[in-house]
Amino acid sequence: MTMTKPQLSACSHCDLLIAPYQPQRPQDIKHSAKCPRCGSHLYHKAQCQPSTILALSITALLLLIPANTYPLLAMTMIGTTEKVSLIQATVKLYQEGNFFIALLIFICSTLAPAMMLLSLACASYLSIFHTQSPRLKLFLKWVDHLSHWSMLEVYLVSFLVALIKLVDIADIELGVGLICFSLLMVTNSLILTLFDPSDYWDRVTVNGIS
């Protein structure tokens, strides 16, 4: 297997072959580029180090635990109070016999975000300390696949919709879980904006080429 020109790139949306951009002066270095044919976003150079991503993803992973287990809200209705956490909401659906919906919701709201953050933390750690590790490639692929199924922001908006539906029929008290979940969503969005997969891939050593 031989590589042609290592710097050559292609647009992921229209397959246009793009020659490497070589700025003469350091102030000419661009932080992002668009495909001249289809206008798609080509790359944005990382504005932060993998260590920043590592720190942020550990923060998010820590927030993930209370966000999932602490109650999102407490609802008082007909004399009794019901406290519900994110995990309980999924488990209840499963107990009602809706295995498929429960699984889909579990993947999108808990499993995919957790696995994505974990893979990203591992990938960041390896790209700082062990760029030779074959696992780095594996984690980077996982991050890409899992980020499609992580839907934290959708869940937060859904929660607000449910809240408006409930507020007329019962007394609602917001829980600690909601604060953690909101913080988790903000951290997650920040990570997705700062994380640049091509920067990580450039650190991976290519077979046969030093």
Binding site: M1, M3, L73, M77, V84, N98, L104, H148, V161
Partner: protein, 205 residues
């Protein structure tokens, strides 16, 4: 303006490395199997879309939730839920739910079908416009999950045994399948196919 494919080069779908393409070869950087285009992209996308179309019917006409109060069940479809929200005076939320659960799945299916048909019949539609439409469809698709999340929260919170219970109806599973299938359809569609057909023509349109 030439594509990588015309130069015998393939962009790895996993890591983005551009390398020389040989059949059954692997990416030298990430070991993924190399493809010039996603294999069977159009067939897979059609299959997911047609299945989604079929499930769209029960998703919209069967009850998505059942409100059981003292032994009496009140079924609610997606549309009646939207009407109920308008009656309560929360028109803004009604619009969000209507867009996320009725408009988006339908627009997604129709939108991707238009793109597939235009590729098949080589229709002269602006490539940039089509790509923009696809990107929008791809981005907005995940918001269809909204209604399912709302149901899961409502089911968990309103549980008073004999007095008042909310149970997901048969449409909930159908709706979940529609969302899942349209997400997979968008994921399996290779946008590069749109640009392949007019490679030699003027690309500025």
């Amino acid at each position: 303006m030439e594509s990588a494919k015309n130069n015998g080069l393939a962009r790895c779908h996993e890591c983005g490395l551009v390398c020389r393409f040989q059949p059954n070869s692997q990416c030298p950087r990430c070991d993924a199997k190399l493809h010039l285009r996603q294999p069977h992209s159009i067939q897979k996308t059609w299959a997911y879309l047609i299945t989604a179309c079929i499930f769209l019917i029960p998703a919209n006409f069967m009850p998505i939730t059942l409100l059981v109060s003292q032994g009496k069940a009140t079924p609610d479809t997606i549309m009646s839920g939207v009407y109920a929200l308008i009656d309560e005076g929360s028109t803004g939320i009604a619009i969000i739910v209507f867009v996320a659960s009725i408009l988006v799945p339908l627009a997604k299916i129709v939108g991707i079908m238009i793109i597939l048909v235009s590729i098949h019949f080589r229709l002269k539609i602006s490539h940039k416009l089509r790509l923009l439409m696809f990107k929008f469809i791809d981005w907005i698709g995940r918001w269809s999950m909204l209604d399912l999340f709302v149901i899961s929260i409502m089911v968990a919170v309103i549980d008073k045994g004999q007095l008042l219970v909310i149970v997901p109806g048969p449409a909930a599973t159908a709706f979940a399948l529609v969302v899942l299938l349209t997400l997979l359809a968008a994921k399996n569609f290779d946008t590069r196919l749109m640009w392949d057909m007019e490679e030699d023509n003027d690309w500025t349109n």
